[in-house]
């Protein structure tokens, strides 16, 4: 597309279209990353002009689905940041294990790797039977992938290392069966996960949870939208429940921070009032 100033304007035009025609509101998203993703897709799909790109997005709902999938970021791993999962295993989940029933919300679950990681932890702690994991994302295409529970086999070596570093004691390869180039995760890991679309920007609280994970999602939001999303989490979290964020995210500057106490080592906060 064109010079910096003009392309900034063009991007705002596309975002206005996304809201007007499809109801997706990107106004609170940080611009630098969003702009890079939108320009990347423009180049990737070989558009010759901004007008053509815009027309395709406006008139082809199938293409808008691709736009949504490509401009939002869906990179995820099993047991990413092993130290974080270690604290979940040793500290957070055993506390929740004293409840009769455990409800967990994974907001922005992408292709499901976090949900399956949590499922493995719960299973090993003998808590899976009394747990329910709500895994949500703005993007229905990634949820379809998540439900398939298929992961490229070449990634499993890294995930296995993450699992061990996170304090895993079982044989990680027992959790999947290799099928050509894919690893199919065992069906029992899926029985307690509900995958569903949910838009953090526009939708309300839908349940009360004892643990909410939202990792590497709010880095794409500006401060006002972060505040709004934190309030949504606060309304969705029981007293003494836990909120877990990504390793570079913080609750510190939010309106709800006074009600929360951070655990020493990881980006996990406990609701204390």
């Amino acid at each position: 597309m064109d010079s910096t100033e003009k392309s900034d304007e063009q991007i705002e035009t596309l975002l206005a279209d996304a809201l007007e025609l499809y109801g997706y509101d990107f106004s609170g998203y940080s611009r630098a990353s969003l702009k890079r993703r939108i320009l990347r897709l423009y180049a990737l799909d070989n558009f010759v002009s901004f007008a053509e790109y815009r027309y395709k997005i406006r008139t082809d709902p199938g293409y808008f689905k691709r736009f949504l999938e490509q401009v939002t970021i869906n990179v995820t791993e099993m047991f990413r940041d092993p130290g974080f999962y270690k604290v979940l295993r040793k500290e957070v989940l055993p506390k929740l294990g004293t409840y009769p029933f455990i409800r967990i919300w994974i907001a922005g679950c992408s292709t499901g790797e976090e949900a399956y990681s949590i499922s493995i932890l719960l299973k090993e702690l003998n808590l899976l039977k009394k747990s329910l994991i709500y895994a949500t994302d703005i993007n229905s295409a990634v949820l379809e992938k998540a439900a398939q529970a298929m992961i490229p086999l070449n990634k499993m070596k890294q995930y296995s290392e993450n699992y061990i570093t996170a304090g895993g004691t079982e044989n990680f390869s027992d959790y999947y069966s290799a099928n050509y180039s894919l690893a199919k995760l065992n069906d029992d890991l899926k029985t307690k996960i509900i995958f569903s679309t949910h838009n953090l920007v526009s939708e309300n609280s839908f349940n009360e949870f004892q643990l909410i994970l939202c990792r590497n999602v709010i880095i794409y939001f500006d401060r006002p939208l972060q505040t709004k999303v934190f309030e949504l989490f606060d309304n969705s979290l029981e007293n003494l429940g836990y909120l877990a964020l990504g390793s570079k995210e913080t609750l510190e500057f939010s309106t709800i921070s006074k009600k929360y106490k951070k655990l020493d080592s990881e980006k996990i906060w406990r609701k204390i009032t």
Binding site: S30, R31, A32, S33, R36, I73, V75, I219, K248
Partner: protein, 189 residues
Amino acid sequence: MKNCDAFIIGGSAGSLDVLLKVLPSINSAISFPIIIVLHRKPGADQLLTDLLSSKTKLLVKEIEEKEKINDASIYIAPSDYHLLIENNQTFSLDNSEKINYSRPSIDVTFQSAAEVYTDKLVCLLLSGSNDDGIEGLKKVKENGGKVIIQNPRSAVVSYMPAQAELKVNIDAILEIEEMADYINQLSES
């Protein structure tokens, strides 16, 4: 008139040595921020911050998302995230796919900064072994900024600056001993 609003250094893990030699001579009242993007394995970020901090009086800190960018500070891009700059001169982090097998990618930060700082941006590419940084330097030049490289002949791994020398119209090629003076001279007196 201020001619540098931000100075960004890109390099691989092997560039750490260069930074340790250059930082002690940087003027502690420098009139712009210095932003460092280093390829490395995830983890141990605090060690890197502490190590660099021990070599300068300037504030050295690992970047937090949405942080305001201040002059006379040295910022380090965290491992495993891309670093971008917003129009309002705050940092953004991005967890998207690796670029040139790298996260943080030097290209991503150079390109993003080029749009914000345009002709008031100076970027320095140090030692490294892949093409990361080259596209970014091109963008910096297109937008009127300055690009400088470490002399490939004296770099530990010469590929990255050598590729830059071939493919980009470089403003200056510096020896390690010349870098601090070059940076200090960009500062308002």
